[in-house]
Each structure stands twice: as C-alpha cells, then as structure tokens.
C-alpha cells in the first residue's frame, strides 16, 4: 500500500541537497515579490503531490480540482507571510491539510444523512479506478471494485479528523508524528483518531475480511 510516491512526500526534502534548498528559497523570494513565473515554477514543483493528496482525501476528480485551486490561491495570497527559515513543503502540506479538513467538515455538515453514499454517480470514480488496474483476473477485478465501493462508503462515515488521519497514514504512508504536526494536533491525538477510524472501518467492512 505504501508506494514509493507516498514515501517521497515525507523524504523528498530531507534528502535534497542544500543547493536545491537554496534555489527553492530564491524562487520563493522572487514569488514573494510578485514574480508570477517564479510562483508558477514553485507550483510545478509540488502540484502533482498536492493533487494526489487532495484526490485521495476526497476521491472525486472534480472536488480534488477545486481543492487544488483553493490550496494554491491560499498559498499565493499568503506567501508574503511565509518565513524563509521554515520549510516550504511543510507549510504547503499544512495548507493542503487545512483546506481538505475544512472541505470534509463542510461536506459532513451538509449531508448528515449517508444518502449520497448510495447515489450511482458517486461511485463511478471508484469503479473506473478498479476497472483500470492491469494484471488482475476478472474475479480479482470484481472484488477490488467491490472493496473500493465499500471503502468509499465506509470512509464517509468517519469524522473529518479520522478520515484525514487515516488517509494520510494509509494512503500517504506518513508517520503519525508528522500527521499530528500537519493537522495541528499531537501524535497521541492522531493515534486515537487512527484507532477510531480503523475500528469503524472494521465494523463496516467486517463481511469482506
């Protein structure tokens, strides 16, 4: 489950050379002075990872696109306040986490009823996804599709915080300490959220196990 790309998110800038970090700071400085092309370059450095995170968090291309835009507009508007001593990636991923968290919270309050879960259109994405995976025989493909569909529904039953922590842990392969930092909470609180998320998923998916 923890694929290379996920780990890259955590390790990318710890291993990068000082030269790269300096180049990035120069880029940020230019962007802070209003240089649009520098800002665009900065976006290109990180936007694939940001899109992957938002997509995994909401599992809908349309919503992921909205969140992507919201993240980078926020970054654009507040870049002036970013201090160059801090690590840009951490700051950026915190913005991503906040934007996704707010979105999940609004979504939750809009549809307290799990009615959306049954709507056909909602599940297209999971199905398309399962269909596309190469190398599976038909039964495996069918099962993967079924699990996707059920997981999709089960994830909607989690609280926004539980869902965030679960997605960051399970899909992004991040360490709980880092997740706590991103979500502005303690490692202990992140552990509790993960525990509750897994408990709920276990209940919802018990017949598949």
């Amino acid at each position: 489950m923890v694929d290379g790309a996920c780990l890259e998110l955590v390790g990318k800038h710890e291993t990068s050379r000082e030269g790269e970090a300096e180049a990035e700071r120069a880029l940020i400085r230019r962007a802070q002075r209003g240089d649009r092309s520098a800002f665009d370059t900065l976006v290109r450095l990180y936007d694939q990872e940001v899109l992957r995170m938002t997509l995994r968090m909401v599992r809908s291309e349309e919503e992921a696109q909205d969140l992507y835009q919201e993240v980078f507009l926020k970054v654009y508007r507040s870049l002036g306040r970013f201090r160059l001593e801090s690590r840009f990636s951490t700051w950026l991923y915190r913005v991503v986490t906040n934007v996704c968290f707010d979105h999940l919270r609004q979504q939750k309050s809009r549809s307290e009823l799990p009615a959306r879960a049954g709507a056909d259109g909602e599940l297209d994405y999971a199905q398309a996804l399962a269909d596309d995976r190469p190398g599976l025989n038909p039964e495996q493909a069918l099962r993967a599709r079924e699990i996707s569909r059920r997981l999709e529904v089960a994830l909607r039953q989690l609280s926004p915080r539980e869902r965030m922590v679960f997605e960051l842990k399970h899909c992004q392969g991040m360490k709980l300490r880092a997740i706590g930092e991103l979500c502005g909470t303690s490692e202990e609180a992140a552990k509790n959220s993960l525990f509750r998320a897994v408990q709920k998923l276990r209940q919802d998916l018990s017949d598949l196990v």
Binding site: G34, S37, F39, R56, R59, L73, Y76, A130, F195, R202
Partner: protein, 317 residues
C-alpha cells in the same frame, strides 16, 4: 501489556508505529495469548483488504485541467484589487523582464478610486494612456496584467494620481493556419510556452496542418521533450495521423523506450504496432517490444507489449 492494550495498539503495530519497547511488550503478550493472536490476525486481514484497494492516482489530463484553471484564477487574482495592492507593496522588488511589456501611465482621478481598481470597474474613468494615440477606456484594463509599479504620484492640485507601471496587454490574433505568422506563433507556443493546457490546445489547433514541415518538427519535439505527460500524449495522437516517415518512427520508438509515463508508452506501442501490421515491417519494433515485455517496470506496459508481440507474430504467419 494486557489484552485491552493490545486491542488498542494493534493498528499501530501493523503500521509499524510502536516504539521499540512497546513493540517488544506487544510481541511478548502475543506469544502467550491465543485470543490476542486471533484478534491480531483479524486486524491483519482488514489491513490486507484495505491494501488491496487501489489508490486514486491523478491522471495527466486532470493535472492539465487543474493547472489551466489555476492559471486563469491567478490571472483574475492579479488583475483584481488584491493584485494591485500586492503590486504596490512589492514595488521595491525587482520585476522580471516582461516579454510583451508596455509602459503605461494611467491617470486616475480621485486617489481612493485606485483601491477599487478592478477590470471593467464602471466608476473608473477617465484614463489616458501615454504613448498611444487611442483613448484608453476603463474596460481596456481587463486586458492588462500589471507586472510592476514603478511610481505612484498623487497630484494634490487635481486630486488625481499618476501611476507608472509595466503591464502586459492581452492581444487577440485571428487568422488562418495557412498564414505562416500564425503558424509561427503556434509552433513557438508548442515548443516553449509554460502553460501545458495552452500547449495542448495549440497541438489541437495545429492538427490540420501537421504535415507542414515546421509544424511537423514542433509536434515531434513536443512528443519527445514536453515536460507534461498529457501534452506528450496529445502530441503522440497527432503524430499518429501524420504521414509516416523515419522521423515519426524514431520519435515513437523513443517514446516507447524512454517516456517516463506508462500511458504514453502504451500509446506508442499501439501506434507502432498498427503501422507495423499494416506495412508488414517489424524488424525494428519487435526487439524493443520483446525487451519491454520482459523488463518494463509497469506491469500493464509489459502486458501490452506482450499482446503486441503476439499480434505481430500472428500477422507474420
């Protein structure tokens, strides 16, 4: 550690999030408690089921759409009052050398109005543009992207203010693709413009003239060198419809062997095999397909290469 603790920490154990001493205690209890072993096995099965679930991966097309929409949103942002405000705050910073920059002097009457400067703001007039003879109406601001403000000089006598700034003016070119100047703009866009969404639209526009030598070269260039996989894929589709030649053949082989994106590699397989089957020539394609069927890092690409090999072999017999 007792059975309750174990229950609480089994996820952490499976995600390898336990500290070494907790892990050791966990395993010690596990060794002596059959009930907990069973429960952990269940937890492990759930873990495995969740791991079977495919993770959403953004497609190149989605990325292109996102970038394009963001680009437009940032344009609006820069033109709006926020952008102007920011421009003022950063006026001491160095501005980048603008590509299509024109120096505009705007005369605004009423200093306060400057803060409500928005594209198409109705209350904002009159404006004059120095250096040109045509009057510069308020609506024209919608076409201007402000890059740098070098002077803001209020005039206490008139109550107006003079703003000197560098701005890019949006121009619209319309013409036929038969016009070499239009083609040149498009070719330059394909080769060097930094917005991938625009590059992709440009490929689309060039499709009808793909066998024009300079267009052809630009399309092959995009297939080989574009940084964006969605654009490369689009270029590949267009290249497929070109008159076949060694240049096309080489570019497709290059994409098959070296493109970082599995979607592009698979599309290259299709294109090459289609042509090879039609023309009955496969001595250059076959070895590459065999190699990739065995060694491509992506299982789907390996599968497609294998299927292609079978298809070509079947065709030979």
């Amino acid at each position: 550690m007792n059975c309750d603790d174990l229950e609480k920490t089994s996820s952490l154990y499976l995600y390898d999030e336990l500290r070494a001493e907790d892990r050791a205690a966990f395993e010690t209890h596990l060794a002596s408690c059959a009930g907990c072993r069973t429960r952990l096995e269940e937890a492990r099965r759930l873990h495995r089921v969740l791991s079977e679930c495919p993770q959403p991966e953004p497609t190149p097309e989605l990325l292109v759409r996102c970038r394009q929409a963001l680009d437009e949103a940032l344009d609006r942002e820069q033109l709006g009052w926020r952008g102007l405000l920011r421009g003022w705050m950063w006026q001491f910073g160095a501005a980048p050398a603008p590509r299509l920059a024109a120096v505009l002097t705007l005369l605004l009457f009423g200093f306060g109005l400057g803060w409500t400067l928005r594209p198409r703001a109705r209350s904002l007039a009159p404006l004059t543009l120095s250096g040109t003879t045509s009057p510069f109406g308020a609506s024209d601001l919608g076409d201007v992207r402000i890059r740098h403000i070098s002077e803001v000089a209020p005039d206490p006598q008139s109550g107006g203010v003079r703003i000197t700034l560098d701005a890019e003016r949006r121009v619209t070119l319309e013409g036929s693709l038969d016009d070499p100047r239009i083609r040149q703009v498009l070719v330059d866009t394909v080769r060097g413009y930094d917005n991938p969404g625009i590059r992709r639209d440009t490929l689309d526009a060039l499709r009808t003239h793909r066998d024009n030598p300079s267009v052809r070269a630009a399309l092959l260039y995009a297939l080989r060198h574009d940084a964006n996989a969605g654009v490369r894929l689009e270029a590949l589709k267009t290249v497929r419809g070109m008159q076949w030649g060694p240049d096309v053949h080489q570019a497709l082989l290059g994409a098959l062997e070296h493109d970082a994106n599995p979607g592009v590699r698979v599309a290259a397989v299709d294109a090459l095999v289609e042509h090879a089957v039609e023309e009955g020539e496969n001595e250059t394609v076959m070895p590459v397909l065999l190699k990739l069927a065995a060694s491509d890092q992506n299982p789907y690409v390996r599968l497609q290469c294998l299927a292609a090999v079978r298809k070509m072999e079947g065709n030979e017999q």
